[in-house]
Symmetry: C2
Subunit: 223 residues, 2 copies
């Protein structure tokens, strides 16, 4: 039986995403093993389907981590001197669009007084501008995300909305640095979109679109 021993806690408090780094080591088969992980919050994500216009409502946002992956892919030299205090400047930086991804509406669970459903409803309103009550949410399932690094639990919900429930344009909270574009994906094009790798997206988008086609689409009233 593995018995992890929590040992040391390290350096980095991060502004912006509320992550903290920890190291710990645990004995595994008699040898010491170190592991880094990032402390993150559990999260919720929501597949939103607008019945008025028969489309999915997803968000599109700039992701620094995705952008940096692309920088490394195209300019590996930037990362080669990892001990230096600063990166060299790039003469031709990549355009920000390479860091943009399509994602489900989502949010972290950081308010102890609220249920997962209440947090999901807040995110739907803030990011996408629809007023949804917790009774309108259907829980799809939960799973572990980023098991190598964060290990937090994500719970996926489904919400049906219509144009009457729209109260704002959404777009996140600019004062918290969120810059979110609400994007509608027509139902008829959704599986093509899901498997088109030229639109960078999370697995949550692909999985939930497929879930909808298996579980909801067969019961939709014919228009």
């Amino acid at each position: 039986r593995l018995l992890p021993v929590i040992m040391a806690l390290s350096c980095n408090f991060s502004v912006g995403v509320n992550l903290t780094d920890f190291n710990f080591f645990f004995p595994q088969n008699g040898t010491k093993k170190f592991w880094d992980f990032m402390r993150t919050h559990d999260s919720v994500s929501i597949l939103i389907f607008n019945t008025s216009r028969q489309c999915f409502v997803v968000v599109k946002q700039f992701r620094p981590a995705v952008y940096m992956c692309e920088v490394e892919r195209h300019h590996p030299e930037v990362f080669q001197n990892q001990n230096k205090e600063s990166f060299p400047s790039l003469e031709n930086p990549l355009p920000a669009v390479v860091g943009v991804t399509y994602e489900l509406c989502a949010g972290i669970v950081d308010k102890p007084g609220l249920s997962l459903e209440e947090i999901a409803c807040e995110e739907i309103l803030e990011e996408c501008g629809y007023r949804v009550s917790t009774a309108d949410l259907r829980r799809i399932t939960s799973y572990r995300s980023g098991v190598g690094v964060t290990g937090s639990r994500q719970t996926l919900f489904y919400a049906e909305v219509n144009d009457q429930m729209r109260s704002s344009g959404g777009g996140g909270q600019p004062e918290e640095g969120e810059l979110i574009e609400v994007v509608e994906i027509p139902l008829g094009e959704s599986m093509k979109f899901a498997y088109d790798e030229t639109f960078p997206k999370t697995m949550g988008v692909i999985f939930s679109f497929m879930w909808f086609h298996n579980n909801i689409a067969p019961k939709l009233p014919k228009k």
Copy 2:
């Protein structure tokens, strides 16, 4: 248009998972924004179906990050003094089983000379013990994983295997600290397993099982 500026590179080199931490900030709407991210490798994951026994082959392993999430959930006091150099010891540490997850066979892309397919075949052999050639792999799709933290690209493959292709028990590379248990999930129970939240798993497992049921199962020869 957002134009990220790469600025500072920070502290943590990690043993075990080959991650490095970076911070950078970028101007967004005129304000400076910091963001932490972890540098990780792209990865491959493989849905493996054994036709001899009509079952999926997945792996089960202890994940330190998942374990630490559970420690925090059950013993939040451990994380409260984040400036201390060491954690308090727990009198009754959680059993390691709370950090175990079911996952697809997977591996990181860290060998520049090898294609994604070649790396996938190596992982299938190392982790699950089956000899598969790259021609036997079917690419399902790719997506971004952990967009908040890592942003790396993961490519998902499908591989059909049979008992004659099994050359070892798998189990990973103990010299690299991998302790992996190979688990077979019978096809007939697979969707029940996928949605049973008492088995902690990644979204990759749920998504790929559903993909199989939509795309492969209808074409399987009746046994």
